[in-house]
């Protein structure tokens, strides 16, 4: 009870301080707010530069993608590393590697409850539907990854969808089916490959004597007309890396959480 009172006081103070500052904010959607146009009398803000020059610099119509993967691509590399880290940490904490043959006591066989006639119908209907849905989900996911240049989307979103498609296999059938298609060894490897693609594409410019993440240096390698197109292709490359990592880690988290790290039984 005491702890609750203290917590409430702390929350109240934090909220009051936050509200205190709100009165000072620029209006919502104000085009002349500092974040949009820069401080009055100062130099124009970065966002104004992005709005005016992103297409010229990168030939990517979607500003968000260009900022995410090029201007601030260094941040996004580490956001991807965060996801990779989350997967590794969950593995380190949850995965049970010893006593694999010992019977896992607390989890009752989930398939037993479904072995009624109703359950079988249920499984057939859900199973067939998902079998049709999964390839469509995956194709749409690839579209989202590839179309990040033009519309909302990109590696994170597409990767989540790809991961979800494997989770759907696990939910509609069993985790064993999903693991048969996407085993533990392969999802760890694929997550690492994703980071490797991102870091590798970002690192290549160093070989050409340019700075980290400066995809423009890949002009010769990719055979594009100008540095802008090279940047565009570089952005696609790193999005692909993000998609690999996100897909693998999403599925890894699901598999470990749903089976308490045993990768057996579960849902």
């Amino acid at each position: 009870m005491k702890a609750k009172i203290f917590a409430s006081i702390a929350v109240a103070i934090t909220g009051a301080v936050l509200l205190y500052a709100v009165t000072d904010f620029p209006n919502f959607g104000d085009p002349r707010s500092p974040a949009n146009a820069g401080v009055e009398g100062g130099s124009p803000s970065a966002s104004l530069y992005y709005i005016e020059n992103t297409y010229r610099d990168t030939k990517v119509p979607n500003l968000v993608t260009a900022i995410l993967a090029d201007y601030r691509g260094y941040d996004t590399l580490f956001e991807t590393v965060v996801i990779f880290t989350a997967g590794m940490a969950i593995f380190a904490i949850l995965r049970v590697l010893r006593n694999e043959n010992a019977p896992s006591a607390p989890s009752p066989d989930p398939e037993a409850s479904n072995r009624t006639i109703d359950g079988d119908h249920h499984r057939i209907i859900v199973g067939i539907t998902c079998r049709i849905a999964v390839p469509l989900v995956q194709i749409f996911a690839l579209y989202v990854v590839a179309h990040g240049h033009h519309s909302p989307g990109g590696g994170f979103q597409g990767g989540v969808m790809l991961g979800a498609s494997f989770i759907l296999i696990a939910l509609s059938g069993s985790l064993r089916d999903a693991l048969a298609r996407f085993s533990e060894a392969s999802y760890i490897r694929l997550a690492s490959i994703g980071i490797l693609i991102y870091a590798g594409v970002a690192f290549l410019p160093l070989v050409f004597g340019r700075n980290f993440v400066d995809y423009g240096a890949l002009k010769g390698l990719l055979g594009t007309d100008g540095e802008e197109m090279a940047r565009s292709h570089g952005i696609f490359g790193v999005e692909l890396g993000v998609a690999f990592t996100v897909m693998s880690i999403m599925f890894a988290i699901f598999a470990n959480l749903s089976t308490r790290g045993r990768l057996k039984g579960g849902l």
């Binding site: 301080v17 936050l18 205190y20 500052a21 009165t23 000072d24 904010f25 620029p26 707010s33 500092p34 974040a35 949009n36 820069g38 401080v39 009398g41 100062g42 130099s43 970065a46 966002s47 530069y49 992005y50 090029d70 201007y71 601030r72 691509g73 260094y74 941040d75 580490f78 956001e79 590393v81 965060v82 990779f84 880290t85 989350a86 590794m88 940490a89 593995f91 380190a92 904490i93 995965r95 590697l97 010893r98 060894a185 760890i188 490897r189 997550a191 690492s192 490959i193 980071i195 490797l196 870091a199 690192f203 160093l206 340019r210 700075n211 980290f212 993440v213 400066d214 995809y215 423009g216």
Partner: protein
């Protein structure tokens, strides 16, 4: 390639982690060579950065090459304040890596590659936080550091370390969110994330700098970082997290994570909000120094009450964080307090590393968890204990260890600023440290030999009860890091002159560069 040092220093461990993810899972023998070589490369890069900064001043690296207009890309900036910290991070990480040979995850040796992946990514995060010049990038790398820390703590076998990691996770997330809110408010009012850009705008626009949103942003950033560094009222997560985690994890987490958070605070004060502004608002400084005094007293008092070695060391970390926060906020005109703080970041990282490595070795090869378990350790492990003594003397502040000089500079700053309470707290805390460590030395030297009295902890080899203890040092993998750390503690003390000179040029130069604008 030498132009790219600021980014190579963290790419080496990143590529190391990727290599482990690809090849380490099948064959665990790959792990150690990869980890060690990645960290050696980082150490070389960090030393290279120090040399370049020493000869050529501040080193700027524009990621993705976006130089013009300033602030559209991400800037990495190495100067005299952060470059020595990079070297210390690489050194401590290397020592901890050597220490973990053959007992990485302690129980589950199958998880060795995962342990090392998290270990290397933690180094990536720490290097990244230290070298970046972008306020948002700091947040991203704080996330990397935090997630890896949770994993490294929870990888231990006991249930306690999982609970401790969860507690840390909650507190750490609150801290990181506060920092993010602060940065968000800054962006809302200033439209920039680049630290120097923010500073230039604040310095040129008085009314904006005094506005409510900016003040709130500053408070949130400070409180967020204070949570991350376990500043006294926000310290709850630290003792359990670091004392229940595996020795190998504690050997890198305890010395580095809190110290790097202190560095972030210093960086925010020097290069974002500006020392002139902070010195103009003296009452803020007084307030924080009082908080620091409370932290020092509380940390020392809690340390006195502990029965376990690592818990006691953790409480000392809390007191040391108090030293550093107080020192940074003294506001003396010559900035000796700030100099002492930056120097103490280096010193404290090394001495904490020394103590935690030694404590880890005692726990692993002597079964010593409580203070009493240490009796007779000097006869059994004279060299490792010597390392522990050096670390302890440094915490007390005995010359010629680095602990003495950092306290010297902090006290000098406090006297010039007239902060006598802080001086008193520092001296009292040194006395408490002396009591603590001489109590340990007494147990360790003159205590009874480890006989049947505590047979529960040590299941290996105390068969000869009444005979004098056989000398049995921990294996080289543990002994060498302890001794190297002890030697560095003394070396940093002996060469405090040039180090402090280097830091001071950096502090003055950075402040000057920043206030004249781009």
């Amino acid at each position: 390639m030498s132009d790219h040092l600021p980014v190579l220093v963290l790419l080496a461990p990143l590529f190391g982690a990727i290599t482990l993810g690809l090849f380490g899972m099948k064959d665990h023998r790959v792990c150690l060579p990869v980890v060690l070589s990645a960290l050696v490369v980082s150490l070389c890069c960090a030393i290279g950065i120090v040399l370049k900064v020493h000869s050529g001043g501040t080193l700027d690296y524009f990621v993705a090459g976006w130089k013009e207009p300033f602030g559209i890309g991400i800037l990495l900036r190495a100067d005299a304040i952060n470059s020595p910290i990079l070297v210390v991070i690489a050194t401590v990480a290397l020592l901890a890596a050597v220490f973990t040979v053959r007992h990485a995850g302690e129980r589950d040796s199958e998880k060795t590659p995962h342990f090392y992946i998290l270990f290397l990514l933690l180094c990536v995060g720490l290097f990244g936080i230290t070298i970046t010049g972008d306020a948002f990038n700091v947040f991203v790398l704080i996330e990397v550091t935090a997630l890896t820390s949770y994993g490294l703590i929870a990888i231990g076998s006991s249930k306690r370390c999982k609970v401790a990691a969860f507690h840390y996770l909650v507190m750490g997330t609150v801290g990181a969110s506060f920092y993010l809110i602060g940065v968000g408010y800054l962006y809302l009012k200033l439209g920039s994330l680049n630290m120097q850009d923010i500073h230039t705008i604040l310095a040129s626009n008085e009314t904006l700098a005094d506005s409510r949103a900016i003040r709130t942003a500053f408070v949130f950033i400070l409180v967020g970082i204070w949570t991350k560094m376990a500043f006294f009222p926000l310290h709850g997560w630290l003792p359990n997290a670091y004392s229940y985690s595996p020795s190998g994890s504690a050997a890198i987490l305890a010395p580095l994570v809190t110290k790097v958070s202190v560095y972030v605070m210093v960086r925010m004060m020097v290069s974002v909000f500006g020392l002139d502004r902070l010195e103009a608002n003296v009452e803020w400084g007084h307030f924080v120094v009082w908080l620091a005094v409370i932290a020092i007293v509380a940390g020392s008092t809690m340390a006195l009450a502990q029965r376990e070695i690592k818990k006691m060391l953790c409480c000392l970390i809390i007191a040391e964080v108090g030293y550093m926060v107080g020192g940074a906020w003294l506001g003396d005109p010559q900035r000796w307090g700030l100099t002492g703080t930056v120097y103490h970041i280096l010193a404290d990282a090394l001495m904490t590393s020394c103590l935690f490595l030694a404590a880890g070795a005692f726990a692993k090869w002597h079964g010593a968890i409580k203070l009493e378990d240490l009796s007779g350790i000097f006869c059994k492990m004279p060299l490792a204990s010597a390392g522990f003594v050096v670390g302890g003397l440094a915490i007390i502040g005995v010359p010629p260890t680095c602990g003495f000089y950092s306290k010297f500079y902090l006290i000098r700053g406090a006297i010039e600023a007239g902060q006598w309470v802080y001086v008193a707290a520092l001296l009292a805390s040194s006395l408490v440290n002396a009591v603590l460590f001489f109590r340990i030395f007494e147990i360790a030297y003159f205590g009874k030999n480890p006989v049947e009295s505590h047979g529960h902890g040590d299941d290996h080899g105390h068969g000869h009860d009444s005979e004098p203890v056989v000398r049995r040092e921990p294996p080289l993998q543990a002994l060498v890091p302890v001794l190297v750390a002890a030697a560095l503690v003394i070396l940093l003390g002996l060469f405090n002159g040039p180090v402090v000179e280097f830091i001071r040029t950096g502090l003055i130069e950075t402040a000057a560069v920043v206030s004249t604008g781009r």
